[in-house]
């Protein structure tokens, strides 16, 4: 199945941004898989990053001044996200 995912998520998003004529954008995300590649490989396109739910802070240290982290104030300790 994953052979179908020949293109990385960040490359897909880059192609979309180019198609729309965007050099930069604000991003709001939930799944680490969706944003971590973009944040690592192309931080210059990220004007800001809103993350819903838990995440690994090491992945966004270089974007900390552009980061909004949203979580809930109760329940289990925040995780990356719960399982499907």
């Amino acid at each position: 199945m994953d052979a179908e995912i020949a293109l990385s998520t960040e490359e897909r998003i880059r192609q979309l941004l180019r198609h729309l004529g965007l050099d930069q954008a604000h991003f709001a995300c939930r799944s680490a898989r969706d944003w971590s590649g973009l944040a690592t490989a192309y931080p210059e396109v990220v004007s800001s990053l809103t993350l819903i739910g838990g995440f690994d802070p090491r992945a966004v240290e270089h974007l900390s001044g552009k980061l909004l982290a949203v979580t809930g104030d109760r329940g289990q300790s925040p995780r990356q996200c719960a399982m499907p």
Binding site: M1, D2, I5, L7, T9, E11, R12, I13, Q15, L16, H19, L20, G21, L22, D23, Q24, A25, H26, F27, A28, C29, R30, S31, A32, R33, D34, W35, S47, S48, T50, I52, G53, G54, F55, D56, P57, R58, V60, E61, S64, G65, K66, L67, L68, A69, V70, T71, G72, D73, R74, G75, Q76, S77, P78, R79, Q80, C81, A82, M83, P84
Partner: protein, 360 residues
């Protein structure tokens, strides 16, 4: 989370009041004003990207679907994991000041992970074991409760060559939309009927299906109400098959981790969550008997995910990481790299599985 934020100077943390944020939480619907205000205040302080006047509309590029609304600086909204409403309750307000670009498709969010999981050899082996126990006969009608992207319905339709009417029901319109697109992609749109509905109030008459199944949904619902509904819509002598994530069984990460770290990473419940009334443990078997099912066959299964299932594997392996110290994380990465170099890296994910029969 607060510890995480302390590592990130300048980052802003917003904790939604009296809210337990799970992967399936519908945060944009349940905390529309609070989340919207937090986002708009934050975005207002950030240097804005160049405003654009994209023509509203929809399209698909590189396997990502997009929908554009509003004008202003671009704000890209990636999928809100399993949230039924995704970003929609917030989009009108955000689009008053920003050009919102909502993304979807099989390459992103929960859809990518559900599809990766649903194609994994170990996972399909678990489902095959469950279905064999139902002794599904040609022509019998099958219902999947909480079908998500319909990956198992498509697998069953292909495997049985259209021998069974297959219905998938899900509470989540976003996942159902993706399920419809994936079924069309595979030429299976005529083989599966997708319906929107709540597992606790199934939109079907009594005794409608021969086999009613559900895979890793009972964790997120009122488990006993859901089981009662599954029994209700199943015909007498029909079978009810249920899989629940086992948060009471350990994981296995096949990598040379130090003992203390291995214990931490593989601890029961290290991956996944459960709703207050949900079931993610061995109480599944007792609950199925209480729901009136007979001949309940109990079949706990431990599917493995390896590098062939990369999207699912990465999703699993990343979950314990935020809880590790810097040193532990370094040890974890080294152990994983070593196992990967040896070609022996995999993780197992325990599940409780059972099949019961509805009495005559």
């Amino acid at each position: 989370m607060r510890n995480a934020i302390n590592r990130l100077p300048g980052a802003q943390l917003v904790a939604l009041r009296d809210y337990d944020l799970q992967g399936w939480s519908d945060a944009a619907a349940e905390r529309t004003d609070e989340l919207g205000t937090a986002m708009l205040q934050f975005l207002g302080r950030m240097a804005a990207p160049t405003s654009i006047a994209l023509r509203g509309g929809e399209g698909e590029v590189a396997g990502i679907t997009y929908r554009v609304r509003g004008t202003g600086p671009p704000l890209v909204l990636l999928p809100m994991f399993l949230a039924p409403s995704q970003w929609e309750p917030l989009v009108p307000r955000l689009s008053e000041q920003y050009c919102t670009i909502t993304l979807g498709g099989a390459a992103l969010g929960a859809v990518a992970i559900l599809e990766s999981r649903g194609h994994a050899v170990g996972y399909l082996q678990m489902v095959r074991t469950l279905l064999e126990e139902t002794q599904l006969r040609r022509g019998e009608a099958v219902l999947e409760v909480g079908c998500g992207t319909g990956v198992l319905d498509r697998w069953l339709a292909r495997r049985t060559g259209g021998a069974h009417p297959i219905t998938g029901v899900d509470i989540n319109p976003y996942l159902l939309q993706e399920a419809g697109a994936l079924a069309r992609r595979d030429g299976l749109e005529g083989a599966i009927e997708f319906r929107e509905g709540n597992a606790e109030r199934l939109p079907f008459a009594d005794s409608s299906f021969d086999v009613t199944m559900s895979v890793t949904v009972i964790e997120e619902a009122d488990a006993d109400r859901m089981l009662a509904e599954m029994v209700r819509v199943t015909k007498p002598e029909g079978r009810v098959a249920v899989v629940a994530r086992a948060m009471d069984m350990p994981f296995l990460m096949n990598a040379p981790l130090p003992t203390a770290l291995k214990t931490k990473v593989e601890a029961p419940g290290a991956v996944g969550g459960v709703a207050v009334q949900g079931c993610a443990d061995a109480s599944l078997y007792r609950r199925m008997r209480r729901a009136g099912l007979t001949r309940v066959k109990m079949l706990p299964q431990v599917p493995a995910f390896d590098l062939d299932d990369l999207t699912m594997l990465e999703f699993m392996q990343d979950q314990p990481l935020p809880k590790l110290s810097e040193g532990e994380a370094n040890e974890w990465h080294a152990a994983r790299a070593q196992a990967e170099a040896e070609g022996t890296f995999f993780m197992t994910f325990p599940h409780h599985c059972a099949v019961g029969t509805k009495a005559l």
